[in-house]
């Protein structure tokens, strides 16, 4: 059974169809990429999966649960976490507190526990802090950064902190919206490694939106291509690279005609 399955998913904004009858399946344990020119509907797709937008029509099933009507926090509880295209950390909270907010939905203690400071609550807080430090280490910030206010962190580390915050929600599926945006080549390389680790160490399924083709082709098991809200291709990276429709979407028709030959094996949709 696929982990995430979208059937004919559509989102309309007034007269504009941002996502148009997209079918997409993500298998558990794979790293999938969603690519497409600017405005192709990638982020809209993410926003529908995470509950920020309600689909106009179509179905979304995650791990046996139908999505589409849940609020974002309910989706997160089911096991989907995300990062944002333009970093949306809680800028004035410390790195550790950012991660602790991510853990919020997995913690049990309530306001009355906090008022009474019950032993269970104290234990849980300590465990959460411990786990937050582990996560800081894991994504490469290091626990000594724990008390640093998020917006004081260098850009690359802010991206990593956002990933750590997403990991703190204990997701099954991690959605990364342009994780390498604004990074220099060295940072991008390190990030690619991190994403691969997430899958290999933690068994996470990853879906990323990415513009950096080196990243996409380097780590994806499967690539899905959107253009004008429609899915135009799907397949392993090597095939996608030579798919004329994809090249056309990115570079225009003339370029596509020059590179048409080796695309025979790609499954075409839309």
């Amino acid at each position: 059974m696929p982990l995430l399955e979208a059937r004919s998913l559509t989102k309309r904004f007034g007269g504009l169809v941002a996502v148009d009858r997209v079918d997409l399946t993500i298998e558990a344990g794979e790293i999938a990429s969603l690519i497409g020119p600017n405005g192709a509907g990638k982020t809209t797709f993410f926003n529908m999966v995470t509950g920020l937008y309600r689909p106009t029509s179509g179905t979304l099933v995650f791990d046996g649960h139908p999505l589409g009507r849940q609020r974002p926090n309910q989706v997160t509880k089911l096991g989907i976490a995300r990062t944002f295209q333009n970093i949306r950390l809680f800028k004035n909270m410390t790195a550790r507190d950012n991660i602790l907010v991510g853990m919020n939905c997995r913690l049990r203690s309530n306001w009355y526990h906090a008022l009474l400071r019950t032993p269970g609550m104290v234990r849980e807080e300590e465990a959460a802090r411990h786990r937050a430090d582990e996560l800081l280490d894991y994504v490469g910030l290091g626990r000594h950064m724990g008390d640093t206010v998020a917006h004081a962190l260098p850009y690359g580390l802010q991206r990593r902190l956002e990933i750590a915050r997403a990991l703190a929600t204990q997701p099954k599926l991690l959605l990364l919206d342009e994780p390498s945006a604004g990074m220099n080549p060295r940072e991008t390389q390190a990030l690619t490694e991190l994403i691969r680790q997430l899958r290999d160490d933690l068994g996470l399924t990853v879906l990323l939106i990415e513009h950096d083709m080196k990243v996409v082709m380097g780590i994806s098991d499967r690539v899905h291509v959107l253009d004008y809200g429609r899915k135009i291709a799907e397949g392993p990276p090597r095939e996608i690279q030579h798919n004329p429709r994809v090249i056309e979407a990115y570079l225009g028709r003339a370029a596509a005609e020059g590179a048409a030959e080796p695309a025979a094996t790609t499954r075409e949709t839309g």
Binding site: G14, L16, G41, N73, F90, S109, H151
Partner: protein
């Protein structure tokens, strides 16, 4: 608020014919509510009793409304009567609204009238901007406020509320019919043809005028700020320098110790304070300890408001309402005339629960509102509660058209709150069988005077509330509040339930004022609706903002300073020792307002800021600094700016 432009999809305005067909969809209900509210407003206002009572003004207003209607008729004469029903409705509205409105507003105290007009303006504005959900909620609040105010103005409160009730049901039905059958929909006010018909462009002229005035005022204020800022610059430098030195020296103490030390210092200080106060009281003829008690109660209130405003970032302009609910719950359960006379220690908990429940009641409908709308709804709630309390001394609920009374009787209504006369006496707390605040109590070698007994009780309650505040701040919930305040969307996506989190902020914040209200009522022994006016809410908000939102120690210090300044310096010292000083007392609100503006300009984070809040408010400066740092050494370009999606934003 004024600059926010609603991006309207073009598809909507191009399909008016389809929109005019009445459909029984849920969104129709919002318009129905609006129509009902206006009808109820107009017709209750024009009940004969009302015109009888405020005859001259009422008729003058009615005449003016008629003139307006005539003018608008002449103005639009040449234009096609596209929507006769709508036209009729609005001509009638002009007629009645102005007439009734002027008569009605003339009966209200200025602040209430202002709040009422502001709410009406914001409500209309929400509808005109097409913010339907906000419009519905604001209309409901507006309707409730209208009914309460009308009950007061027309005296139906005394004759039994059933007339109001009956009218309301009648208009609910008629307007419902109008809405469903004829499709009179307020959304249609935004239709270009309707707009042209009534002679307004994007918004009706009255709104545009109001906005222009507002913008001009804003420009003037901005210039004044700039001038003030330049004049006060040296002072600002000194304050910053001072706090920096202080912070520097406190850095030497380990972090964990700092909190404990501060707590110990506060406790010792509070315990020793009465001795000092007694000396001072003997040397002068000021009453200090009693004032101190009230100041501490205000600190408890400010700590509660701090949860809502400081922690969760929800602007609450009507917090005094919860204070009133706390105090009146004690009143109702202990006032001898009602015959309950329960034990104070049980009732104080009922107070807390009642305040929390009302916190949720005001919180629930406003959960999806942000910023201005939330503020205005809480403002209205703050007006509704004391006004309702004021009228609840003669409650008669009769089944309409019968002589069966559910509450009260034909001759006499049920007296719940004793209305404007206030409730007096109120039950006192007892400790070991001794009533507090009556006679001096001997405890070992110490003879505790009544104010001293209150002082000790309030200090204990205050300490509990402070501890509770501190624990909440550093808990899972406290972090969730902060996350919501920083970025609600991101918090939601990270698994924080915004609805639950905000409701808890309202409920827990309000519950603090349940404590404060209960103690306050028992201490002063007589409670009146006027004690919980809008100015109390504003005073508390000034405390929270001036002392530093989100910092509980700041709120403690600031609350004491400001309350004591108000009640000791301004109310007692100045009139006694400064010749002609009573002028200052009369100008105190001007002083507070000026002080508030000065603080907002010079130190928006308040006098004793929390680290997070200070950072938030100085974001702009630091972002600039951060950019300079993040220049890439090789390319000399700014790194850290993600590429911008170029096709119509972020979809």
């Amino acid at each position: 608020m004024m600059e926010r432009v609603q991006a309207t999809p073009t598809a909507r305005s191009t399909a008016p014919t389809r929109a005019y067909r009445a459909k029984a969809r849920p969104e129709v209900i919002g318009d129905w509510v609006m129509v009902t509210a206006i009808e109820a407003f107009l017709l209750i206002a024009l009940t004969p009793a009302f015109l009888h009572q405020y005859g001259a003004v009422g008729w003058f207003g009615l005449a003016l409304g008629g003139l307006m209607a005539l003018l608008s008729y002449l103005w639009y004469q040449g234009k096609p009567l596209g929507y006769p029903l709508l036209a009729l409705f609005f001509v009638l509205s002009y007629l009645l609204l102005l007439g009734a409105g002027i008569a009605f507003l003339s009966t209200l105290p200025p602040i209430t009238a202002l709040v009422y007009l502001l709410l009406a303006y914001i409500t209309a504005s929400a509808w005109f901007r097409g913010e339907r959900r906000a419009g519905i909620l604001l209309s409901v609040v507006w309707a409730v406020l209208s009914v309460v105010l009308f009950a007061a103005a027309t005296g139906t409160g005394r004759q039994g509320m059933d007339l109001t009730l009956l009218l309301l049901i009648g208009f609910l039905l008629t307007s419902g019919a109008a809405t469903f059958l004829f499709g009179v929909r307020f959304r249609h006010l935004r239709d270009p043809r309707v707009m042209a018909y009534f002679g307004y462009g994007a918004e009706p002229p009255i709104l545009t005028t109001v906005e222009r005035t507002y913008q001009a005022l804003q420009g003037f204020l901005a210039q004044s700020y700039a001038l003030l800022n330049r004049l006060l610059h040296p002072l600002q430098q000194a304050v910053t320098q001072g706090t920096r030195t202080l912070q520097g020296s406190s850095q030497a103490i380990p972090r964990r110790m700092r909190g404990t030390l501060l707590a110990a210092a506060v406790v010792v200080g509070l315990a020793l304070l009465p001795l000092l106060v007694r000396e001072l009281e003997q040397a002068t003829n000021l009453s200090l300890l009693i004032t101190m008690n009230v100041a501490l109660i205000f600190v408890v209130l400010a700590l509660g408001l701090n949860i809502v405003v400081g922690f969760a970032g929800l602007l609450d302009l009507g917090y005094a309402a919860f204070f009133a609910i706390g105090a009146y719950t004690v009143g109702i359960f202990t006032w001898p005339n009602l015959g309950l006379e329960w034990n104070f220690w049980i009732v104080i908990w009922i107070s807390v629960v009642m305040a929390a429940i009302f916190g949720m009641i005001i919180g629930a409908p406003t959960l999806r509102l942000r910023g201005d709308y939330l503020a205005i709804v809480t403002l209205a709630f703050g007006e509704i509660v004391p006004r309702a309390i004021r009228e609840m001394w003669d409650i008669k609920i009769r089944i309409p058209f019968t002589e069966i009374y559910l509450v009260g009787s034909k001759l006499e209504g049920f007296n719940l709150t004793n209305g404007p006369q206030g409730m007096n006496p109120v039950g006192r707390p007892t400790i070991l069988g001794m009533e507090l605040g009556v006679d001096p109590i001997q405890v070992g070698p110490l003879l505790l005077s009544p104010p001293m007994q209150w002082y000790l009780l309030i200090v204990v309650i205050g300490a509990i509330v402070l501890l509770a505040s501190h624990r909440l701040e550093h808990s899972r919930l406290g972090r969730a509040w902060m996350a919501i305040r920083e970025d609600e969307t991101a918090a939601d996506a990270m698994g924080v339930d915004p609805i639950r989190t905000k409701l808890l902020a309202f409920a827990l914040g309000a519950s603090f004022s349940g404590f404060a209200g209960a103690i306050y009522a028992a201490m002063i022994q007589a409670i009146f609706p006027e004690l919980f006016s809008f100015l109390v809410s504003i005073f508390l908000l000034i405390i929270v903002i001036v002392s530093g939102m989100g910092n509980i120690w700041g709120v403690l210090a600031g609350g004491l300073l400001i309350s004591l300044f108000d009640r000791v310096v301004l109310a007692q010292i100045v009139p006694q020792y400064v010749p002609g000083g009573d002028v200052l007392q009369r100008w105190r609100w001007v002083m507070y307002a000026t002080g508030l503006i000065a603080i907002m300009v010079l130190r928006p984070e308040g006098l004793f800021p929390s680290a997070t809040r200070a950072a938030e408010l100085h974001e702009a400066d630091e972002e600039y600094a951060f950019r300079e740092e993040s220049l890439d050494p090789e390319t000399q370009t700014v790194v850290g700016e993600p590429p911008v999606e170029d096709r119509g934003g972020n979809w």
